[in-house]
């Protein structure tokens, strides 16, 4: 079998549904083979960055690895942002890059780049396929590595001659890599120590991240929550890992987290962190982080443990496995769940009463928060929401209450503007009958706007919620707070007419200028089952995201929206 055929056959054997790609010289043999079959559906994007984000969105929503095929040189370099985005959020993805023929490698040949070298720092692993015999086993290894342990992107660089050469086809079902043995079950002794702390805790707090979502551990976390009765917060990446409408959920934590979540973090005496990595946007100032807490940290990646914050009980293992073991022990020990009448919960309820996400609901100016709340209502909380990066991302995270995992899809680690639209296309392919919305800002949206064509070609009826404040809002907010309102290059001048733009790409465009029109417009748009609708909401230009922890501050030093009583930062240990 020729290499190109092997490639396509291997994807079939791997069960790949969609291949996001863009052709070019180095991959033409492969494209010729793709032409001859339809088991693997090729989705032609309009820019390779779009291919990586679409594959990434597909992976986040479905849990299956996203797959990308691009040509050598610029095809490969255009993928780097998308690969790094997936890497930072531990998303399983396999990216195939074409390469110049082996005899030309290192010759500065036409469209040659060292794809392996360029991507090395932002992949879980990468491979150069040196001969056709290695192709099928390497593809198998790539999928295995991408999806197991702590997932991540894997790049496979395939020289053109490898796709022309022939060998017998054999696709290994199971693969054994002697240098790669991801851990599953946690250490029983460590788990018992964690249970001990759970019993002793007076002011417990559970902090979980993307690991819950990635490991499909949401059901187990829910059970853990109900067995313990502990308050639970999620990171930006972890939203949906615990139902947002559950009474034990105290909201997101971190820089734009809720008052109650951050205060509970600061004052807790036992912190149980699962599948989270103590990112700087979550911890704030490390010197002031959880000063009174004993910390349990469960993570599948040992290098995440004690990286930023030293922990008392490290547990290396998959979130799901360890949660199941802990749940089992809690049931056996007949642990009495904490009820809301105990002093710690009463304190948390008091913090919640501050209603830190309050905003002005009386004006007819469109408040961005209002759009998200209405979107939540109109979609009954059941949509897939992708987002870009900026204020709109934070509002979507704060005001859309995700009850299920894999519904909230955003670039948390790298913070990649341009992610939202192509990611939404990938999600819609995975879930053709669901409502998929891309919450974006006018600056982020244009970064991958070309993918509107892809949406038309494959009839992907995504709803774009453009919170158009005519600013790079998040940049403007920082300039307002920390640069004396010098709005250096953060105003979006010369913006396109987004309605006409949508129409030019063959879609429906809507402009919404008044709060009273928000709900009807959302209903109308979500009712158009087979059309992409671009909704251009002209929102309050200077709205800011609150609460906010400025850099260098601790969790107890939040700024609330103006008009709220600013709580006195209190650092005394609560009784």
């Amino acid at each position: 079998m020729r290499g190109a055929e092997i490639f396509v056959q291997a994807l079939k054997d791997e069960g790949v549904e969609y291949l996001f790609g863009y052709p070019g010289g180095a991959v033409l043999h492969i494209y010729d083979e793709l032409f001859k079959q339809d088991a693997v559906r090729h989705i032609l994007v309009r820019h390779e960055q779009g291919a990586t984000h679409a594959a990434d969105g597909y992976a986040r929503a479905t849990g299956k690895p996203g797959v990308v095929l691009v040509t050598s040189g610029p095809g490969a370099t255009n993928c780097v942002t998308g690969i790094a985005t997936a890497y930072m959020d531990s998303i399983p993805m396999v990216v195939f890059t074409g390469q110049v023929p082996t005899h030309l490698i290192g010759n500065d040949a036409f469209q040659e780049v060292d794809a392996i070298g360029i991507t090395r720092p932002c992949v879980k692993h990468n491979f150069l396929v040196e001969k056709v015999e290695d192709l099928a086993p390497t593809i198998r290894k790539a999928f295995y590595i991408a999806a197991s342990g702590r997932p991540g992107p894997v790049v496979v660089d395939i020289p053109k001659d490898v796709t022309a050469d022939s060998c017998e086809y054999y696709y290994p079902k199971n693969i054994e890599i002697r240098s790669y043995k991801p851990t599953g079950k946690g250490h029983p002794g460590q788990i018992r120590k964690a249970i001990q702390l759970i019993f002793e805790a007076k002011k417990p707090m559970v902090y979980t991240g993307g690991g819950i979502v990635l490991d499909d551990a949401a059901e187990d976390l829910k059970e853990f929550g109900h067995l313990t009765g502990f308050p639970i917060t999620n990171t930006l990446m972890g939203l949906g890992g615990y139902p947002a409408t559950d009474p034990q959920f105290v909201g997101m934590l971190g820089m734009h987290g809720t008052y109650e979540a951050n205060m509970a973090m600061h004052h807790c005496d036992v912190l149980i962190a699962i599948g989270a990595r103590f990112d700087d946007r979550v911890t704030g100032n490390l010197e002031k982080f959880c000063p009174y807490a004993k910390i349990v940290h469960v993570d599948v990646d040992p290098s995440s443990i004690s990286k930023n914050v030293p922990v008392d009980v490290p547990i290396v293992g998959s979130a799901r496995e360890v949660l199941r073991e802990m749940n089992q022990l809690l049931r056996e020990a007949d642990f009495k769940p904490r009820d809301k009448s105990n002093p710690w919960w009463r304190q948390i309820t008091e913090w919640s009463a501050l209603d830190c996400l309050r905003y002005d609901r009386t004006t007819d100016v469109i408040k961005p928060q209002y759009v998200i709340e209405e979107l939540y209502a109109v979609t009954r909380g059941d949509a897939y929401i992708t987002s870009d990066v900026g204020q709109h991302q934070m509002w979507a995270a704060q005001y859309y209450k995700f009850d299920k995992p894999r519904r909230w899809i955003n670039s948390g680690g790298l913070g990649t503007m341009g992610f939202g639209l192509p990611a939404a296309l990938g999600v819609q392919l995975g879930f053709p009958d669901s409502i998929v919305c891309c919450v974006t800002g006018e600056a982020s949206l244009v970064m991958c706007i070309q993918e509107l064509s892809t949406a038309l070609q494959y009839n992907l009826p995504v709803k774009i919620i453009n919170l158009n404040n005519r600013y790079m809002g998040m940049v403007r907010q920082w300039q307002e707070f920390f640069y004396d309102r010098r709005y250096s290059h953060s105003y979006m001048d010369a913006l396109p007419d987004f309605v006409k733009l949508a129409e030019a790409f063959g879609h429906v465009g809507m402009r919404i200028e008044h709060a009273r029109d928000v709900q009807p417009a959302l209903k109308e748009a979500t009712g158009m089952k087979d059309r992409l609708v671009m909704m251009d909401f002209l929102t309050d230009q200077t709205e800011n995201v609150y609460p906010m922890i400025a850099s260098g501050k601790g969790h107890h030093e939040m700024h609330l929206a103006p008009g709220n009583p600013q709580p006195q930062p209190s650092d005394r240990e609560l009784a």
Binding site: I116, R120, K131, E133, P137, N174, D301, S303, K307
Partner: protein, 194 residues
């Protein structure tokens, strides 16, 4: 504190740059690094000397273990161990200087392995500290050139670092693949690592 890490890694193209890249990307120190294939040509052994607090060294070890090409590693500092480094020094050896250098070489149990009218090449093996001490002992103006191999280290006693029973790579039943496999093993050489 200074730590010596012994690392077994796949003798693959690019394996070395993964390790080197990790150190630069995460701003870890490398004092020295040596690498060569082992008795099993599919495996290279690297000795890496680094320094940092216990927390940093713990991170270094974890990050190295995370690299797919790293098969196993140990921190030699966890037990008694032996370290050796080879150094070649070219020194000016003229007049009275000749005798003095020779005496120093004897004291340090080195050897003079090349002699001209005006120069010696001295070969010295030992722990890095000993080599440092020799350099300090020789009058700096006499030193023309210093070449050091970097540290090789090994644990004392029964503690040993090896792959153990190698897990057989999944084998394709085809003849072509088998011969390709053999070819790949044959092709393994140090230059390949880069």
């Amino acid at each position: 504190m200074r730590h010596i890490l012994s690392i077994l890694l796949e003798n693959h193209a690019g394996a070395l740059s993964r390790v080197a890249g990790l150190f630069s990307a995460r701003a870890f120190n490398i004092e020295s690094l040596t690498v060569a294939p082992t008795e099993d040509p599919t495996v290279s052994r690297m000795t890496l000397v680094t320094s940092g607090s216990d927390e940093i060294v713990e991170q270094i070890v974890k990050q190295l273990n995370k690299l797919i090409d790293v098969i196993k590693l140990i921190d030699l500092n966890d037990g008694p161990h032996i370290e050796r480094e080879l150094m070649l020094v070219k020194v000016l050896a003229r007049d009275g200087g000749r005798e003095e250098v020779k005496r120093l070489v004897d004291i340090f149990r080195g050897r003079i392995i090349d002699v001209t009218d005006t120069t010696y090449i001295v070969e010295l093996t030992g722990a890095s500290r000993k080599l440092d001490a020799f350099i300090e002992a020789v009058n700096g103006e006499l030193i023309m050139e210093v070449v050091r191999t970097g540290v090789s280290g090994i644990a004392r006693g029964t503690r040993a670092l090896n792959v153990g029973t190698p897990t057989a790579a999944p084998r394709t039943p085809t003849k072509a693949a088998k011969s390709a496999d053999r070819a790949a093993r044959g092709a393994a050489n140090p230059a390949h690592l880069l």
